[in-house]
């Protein structure tokens, strides 16, 4: 029997000798492109700001203090909670959540439609979904702004037809930002849901109908729970980048729609930036995202253990 086991499986040192070098590229990639940058950001967030950008190597908690607390103009008053940045974070979470829901509402039927086409035409539909993503995100976002501006190709015909008297005020609104986020990240919703629906066994729907379930009940009780992993993956893939997005809020939103991405972006631009503060905001954002993912992972583990 020993000869039949794949080499290394029963033999720890042999396994390590063969597999460890093969894993090296992976470890290098993760080390250089993930661990190192995050570590750098973490360290920067505890440093002191240099006035024309950059940092001074003095360790301090000042950036986190500045994020959460207000100690008055000269820093000598008793601290009260600083709402500015918390509000920006809250708004960002809200915006990202709405964008995710819009993506889900449009993305699920789209993915369902594609996954239920004959195999040959599925590839074409998927290709069509991804085509816009060959164009740079900045250009696409600017185009969207052009599309929805007061005298753009959306408002003009509507006014010409007399359907509206004043242009729809879209630019610089929350709706515009959500539209921008939706447009930017829709494929990240469609693709994982498509993958889940494509694997879905339609005999389950037949079985549900056979057991007297209506179409809606079948959707709620059978289809959605079974393709749930794809839906959750899609939601995470849309929610997380939406939360940190800065192009759509910058270009389509106004001062009232300022989001975390823009806040962080600003800290690293030009001489008025504040690198440690930007790094601190990024770390807080990352912690937030990790907490959400951790809850998800724990919920998944519980379900798996049933």
């Amino acid at each position: 029997m020993a000869g039949l086991t794949p080499s290394g499986q029963g033999n720890g040192s042999g396994y390590r000798r063969i597999v460890a070098p093969l894993l090296l590229p992976t470890w290098l990639m993760i080390g250089i492109f993930l661990v190192l940058p995050v570590l750098l950001m973490a360290i920067y967030s505890f440093l002191t700001k240099e006035f024309r950008g950059g940092v001074i190597w003095d360790f301090t908690l000042a950036s986190y203090d500045q994020f959460f607390l207000n100690r008055g103009l000269f820093g000598d008053e008793p601290p009260v909670i600083e709402w500015t940045y918390i509000t920006i974070f809250w708004r960002s979470i809200w915006q990202a959540a709405v964008a995710t829901l819009i993506c889900l509402a449009i993305g699920f039927p789209t993915a369902w439609f594609i996954a239920t086409r004959p195999p040959r035409s599925r590839a074409i539909w998927l290709f069509l979904i991804t085509i816009p993503y060959w164009v740079n995100l900045l250009i696409r976002t600017v185009s969207l702004k052009f599309l929805i501006r007061d005298n753009g190709p959306l408002n003009e015909p509507l006014m010409a037809l007399g359907l509206i008297t004043d242009p729809l005020p879209l630019v610089n609104t929350n709706l515009a930002v959500q539209l921008g986020l939706f447009y930017s990240y829709l494929p990240f919703m469609v693709l994982p849901i498509y993958a889940a629906v494509e694997r879905y066994n339609f005999a389950l729907s037949e079985a549900a109908a056979d057991l007297y379930a209506s179409r809606w009940v079948t959707l709620w009780e059978i289809v959605l729970p079974v393709v749930k992993p794809g839906i959750i993956a899609g939601c995470i893939l849309v929610f997380v980048p939406s939360l940190g997005a800065f192009l759509a809020p910058d270009l389509l939103g106004g001062a009232k729609t300022f989001m975390i991405g823009s806040l962080i972006d600003e800290q690293f631009r030009g001489s008025q930036g504040n690198w440690p503060f930007g790094a601190a905001a990024a770390m807080i954002l990352m912690t937030l995202v990790l907490i959400v993912l951790m809850f998800y992972a724990r919920a998944q583990a519980r379900e798996g253990a049933r």
Binding site: A203, L204, E206, A207, L211, Y212, A213, S214
Partner: protein
């Protein structure tokens, strides 16, 4: 006995191919009815039309007199056991069995109790809280059965439910299915390509081929009195010989075998001319002397039986099956023997 299902000239087309050619069938209440045929014969299509997963292009399906052909599957009081079970993977075994009851509005306590009783019936009470993926194929099969029986359908449809099980389990399940059908009194419509399965369980069998029902009858009828070459060949093993019917005398036909040997057999509605004769290998025996002379070409040892491959002097290959007993003399290949045809062993076919 009342009729559970009546199918009248059911036609089903997929594009240019026709899956069902004006199929008509009557299925009696409280019967174990089997649709038997090779893959692609339309048996599963017919079952799916009864369940409502496919719509007929023409024809009627009546369930206890009511035309159901245009109803959605969730409005038809029939339940299905699927070939690959189609258990809901995110629900426990008990939840799976209780699903149909939940849909028809049975209260939580009631459906738990009833689903529990169903699981008891299929000997799976201990597995109520497991997920379907934690069960073996045979156990999943029983859950599928319990799930389909729980809402107490008027008719239970079974789509090759045993095909994914191994031989031993399949044989055990045959007996269990038959018992279950007798105990519940529910009409079972069972689809299979396995003739042994069909013969052992069914009260009546419809043999299907190329979208048409070839013959309907009891297991004994379709085995002993097949109407055409397809049925004779598909059910069990048989020798098909081209013969000439010389004349018909009342219920009897005078048949000339290829070597000129003349036999008498039931006319079975045939007319004079070329026909095929079906002779079951086990209905033939060896004799010392006789007019039907053959040469033994090969002897195959099958354990319970011996299979002799012989050739008539006129050139036709004929199989003979002898029971393997201590007294059986095994003739050596090359010997000439006479074949003895029992009275009624040969069956004249319509084609």
């Amino acid at each position: 006995m009342s009729t559970a299902i009546e199918i009248r000239s059911a036609v089903k087309r997929y594009g240019t191919t026709t899956a069902l050619h004006a199929v008509s069938l009557e299925i009696a209440d409280n019967a174990f009815f089997t649709l038997l045929g090779p893959s692609g014969c339309g048996k599963t299509t017919l079952l799916r039309c009864i369940a409502g997963f496919e719509d007929l292009n023409e024809g009627e399906i009546r369930l206890f007199g009511q035309d159901i052909a245009r109803l959605d599957p969730n409005h038809r009081p029939v339940n299905t056991v699927f070939q690959h079970y189609a258990l809901f993977p995110h629900m426990t075994v008990l939840e799976n069995v209780a699903f149909g009851l939940k849909m028809i509005g049975v209260s939580l306590d009631d459906r738990r109790a009833r689903a529990g009783r169903m699981l008891e019936m299929v000997h799976l009470s201990a597995f109520a809280d497991r997920m379907p993926t934690q069960l073996s194929g045979g156990q999943q099969q029983r859950v599928a059965l319990a799930r389909a029986l729980a809402p107490e359908p008027k008719v239970l449809l079974l789509d090759e439910p045993l095909s994914a099980l191994d031989l031993k389990l399949r044989q055990a399940m045959r007996v269990e299915l038959k018992t279950l059908q007798e105990e519940t009194g529910i009409t079972f419509v069972f689809v299979t390509h396995d003739q042994e399965e069909a013969l052992t369980m069914s009260d009546r069998i419809a043999v299907m081929s190329q979208g048409r029902v070839q013959q309907v009858g009891s297991a004994r009828e379709i085995y002993e009195a097949p109407v055409n070459r397809f049925v004779a060949d598909f059910i069990g093993e048989t020798n098909l010989i081209e013969v000439t019917v010389e004349r018909i005398e009342g219920d009897w036909a005078r048949v000339i075998l290829p070597g000129g040997h003349v036999i008498r057999c039931a006319a079975a509605g045939t007319s004079p001319g070329k026909h095929h004769l079906s002779i079951r290998p086990e209905r033939l025996s060896l004799a010392k002397t006789g007019e039907l002379v053959a040469t033994i070409e090969r002897v195959v040892y099958l354990g319970t039986d011996l299979q002799l491959l012989t050739r008539l002097t006129s050139g036709e290959a004929i199989q003979v099956r002898l029971q393997n007993s201590a007294r059986t003399e095994v003739p050596a290949p090359g010997t000439q023997v006479a074949l003895h045809l029992e009275e009624g062993a040969a069956r004249l076919l319509a084609d």
